[in-house]
């Protein structure tokens, strides 16, 4: 039963991931991305990593894809049909995909990535115990957390700069709006 479910949700995830890039309609692409995220979160649930599964749904499926859709619709009411891919793009992405598959296969063949090398008994306790998760995040993985926070800060500053410029343009046109 778990194996069957695993294959079903793998198929859904991969098919929708392909759907993201192959759909002509931007809204349909965003929705395929949404289905793909749901599939991944189901795979996380099957690994007993409930926290990751629900954070994925909450942050990505619930907020990020909604914002994508929002922006797609705001920019173009028809959902923005994109031009077909160039031959160069198709070829280069096929090569990149092949390299990725080859890399994973090599990893598996060398046994560095095999399931036996990770003590399975430890993995679930780390993912399911929320307190442990928080402690790890703020001790062992402090540097990545700081770096990600810094990246977010940069992007936030970027957004402020861009929107500020826009406002100044408006200001010069009409009555002086408060910034």
């Amino acid at each position: 039963m778990p194996a069957l479910l695993f294959y079903i949700f793998c198929t859904i995830t991969i098919a929708s991931a392909i759907g993201v890039v192959s759909n002509k309609n931007a809204v349909a692409s965003a929705l395929s991305f949404f289905v793909c995220l749901c599939g991944i979160s189901v795979l996380f649930v099957m690994l007993d990593a409930y926290l990751l599964a629900f954070l994925l749904i909450l942050v990505y499926a619930g907020a990020v894809v909604a914002l994508f859709l929002f922006i797609i619709m705001l920019l173009d009411m028809q959902g923005g049909d994109r031009p077909p891919f160039k031959k160069m793009t198709i070829a280069s992405s096929a090569i990149a995909g092949a390299l990725l598959v080859a890399g994973v296969v090599v990893f598996l063949a060398r046994g560095q990535f095999s399931t036996e090398s990770i003590a399975l008994a430890q993995a679930p306790s780390f993912f399911t115990d929320l307190k442990m998760y928080g402690v790890k995040l703020f001790t062992s993985y402090m540097l990545p957390v700081q770096l990600v926070g810094f990246l977010l800060l940069i992007s936030m500053l970027g957004v402020i700069v861009i929107s500020k410029k826009h406002e100044e343009k408006q200001e010069s046109g009409g009555k002086g709006a408060r910034s």
């Binding site: 926290l51 749904i57 619930g62 859709l69 619709m73 928080g134």
Partner: protein
């Protein structure tokens, strides 16, 4: 009967449990629409729907007229009408997304209930065990995650309708939902910080929140609405916005804008949107009651176990898990129904905000308030511990 039930395979039992909960939630959502009309009528000092009486049923002595007066038959007639009415799909819509949008509306509305404990029973040792579908550690995160998917139905319905005004309604609705989600989540954090005192295993379970409110002593028995009134207020305001209730009634705004799904949808698909909205209301109210109003405890400073202890002189049957379970579910359901009544009460008390006011309240008032609330309570909790 019980032995037969427990002899079934686990997956069959889980399916039966899930269907049983949906079989209560769905009609409850539908019944809310009638309650809405009746409460509106009472608020405006008129009788409301009270005429529908089928031939046979209306003539039952006593019960028939009462049911008629409460509009129960109107509700059935409405349901039947919506179910059997011709289901029109307009020619200009995007058919696939048009059909899928009501399904996307129903799914999160009905599945969030899985993480909500709606009752409790006492085992032999006097411990309180919850009645719920999925007792996992991340309870509240699961509810928030699934409830956040509700926004897609509004976006899809507005976009698939393929005309100008539904689309504008959808954009406004989704902007509102995204804006208020943040304050809602931040308002809950102090509660979870408070229950996760150092030394206890970390949990986001709603069961633990209720357990914490049913301890003995003055501080232990206090509901969180007394301990953290600001959190409760922010959560309630954000809940009104998230469930699209007045005064945050942007998706509908019938007076000034033809809203998302109101224009092109008809008959059963339209009613699914409404039931989904009421489903969100029920689950949201349940969440509010679990977090801030003591869950299945009958009164503040009066936990369920003490209450059951008072009933003990009536006979041994009062300690039976089945009785305690039903009693706790009734207490909880009573609170949820009062909370839904509160929603309707507010609808006929406060005028609707303008759209710019909705955005200003969300981002400039509620969000800073909830961040300040979080910081103050974090410092207070750190000092107390």
């Amino acid at each position: 009967m019980l032995d037969f039930y427990f002899s079934l395979p686990l997956i069959v039992r889980l399916i039966i449990q899930g269907l049983a909960v949906i079989a209560v939630l769905f009609p409850l959502g539908a019944a809310c629409s009638m309650a809405e009309r009746k409460v509106a009528a009472w608020a405006q000092d008129r009788p409301g729907p009270n005429r529908a009486r089928p031939w046979g049923l209306g003539r039952i002595p006593i019960i028939g007229p009462i049911l008629g007066r409460f509009g129960i038959f109107n509700l059935m007639a409405d349901g039947g009408k919506l179910l059997f009415k011709e289901d029109i799909v307009p020619g200009h819509v995007n058919k696939f997304y048009f059909v899928i949008a009501p399904i996307v509306a129903m799914t999160p509305a009905l599945s969030t209930i899985a993480f909500v404990p709606f009752g409790a029973y006492l085992d032999g040792a006097g411990r309180v065990l919850p009645v719920m579908l999925a007792d996992v550690d991340i309870g509240i995160l699961g509810v928030f995650a699934l409830a956040s998917l509700g926004v897609y139905s509004l976006i899809l319905a507005g976009w698939a309708s393929n005309s100008k005004y539904p689309f504008l309604g959808a954009i406004r609705a989704s902007a509102q939902l995204i804006s208020y989600e943040l304050s809602m989540t931040l308002a809950v954090v102090p509660v979870l910080l408070w229950i996760n005192a150092p030394g206890t295993p970390g949990t986001l379970s709603l069961v633990r929140v209720v357990e914490f409110q049913s301890q003995s002593g003055f501080w232990g028995g206090a509901w969180f609405v007394f301990v953290m009134p600001l959190s409760a207020f922010i959560f309630l305001v954000a809940l009104f916005a998230e469930t699209n209730r007045q005064p945050f009634d942007m998706p509908e705004s019938e007076a000034d804008l033809v809203g998302g799904f109101h224009t092109e949808y008809g008959s059963y698909k339209w009613s699914l949107f409404f039931v989904a909205e009421y489903g969100h209301m029920i689950v949201g109210s349940a969440l509010f009651i679990l977090l801030f109003c003591g869950g299945w405890n009958p009164l503040p400073w009066l936990p369920l176990s003490t209450f059951v202890g008072w009933l003990a002189p009536l006979g041994a049957w009062t300690a039976h898990p089945l009785f305690v379970g039903i009693l706790s579910i009734c207490i909880f359901l009573g609170k949820v129904i009062f909370s839904i009544f509160f929603f309707m009460w507010v609808r006929w008390t406060l005028p609707r905000f303008r759209y710019d006011q909705v955005m200003r309240i969300g981002w400039q008032r509620l969000l800073p308030l909830s961040i300040a609330n979080l910081i103050i309570y974090t410092i207070a909790i750190a000092l107390l511990n």
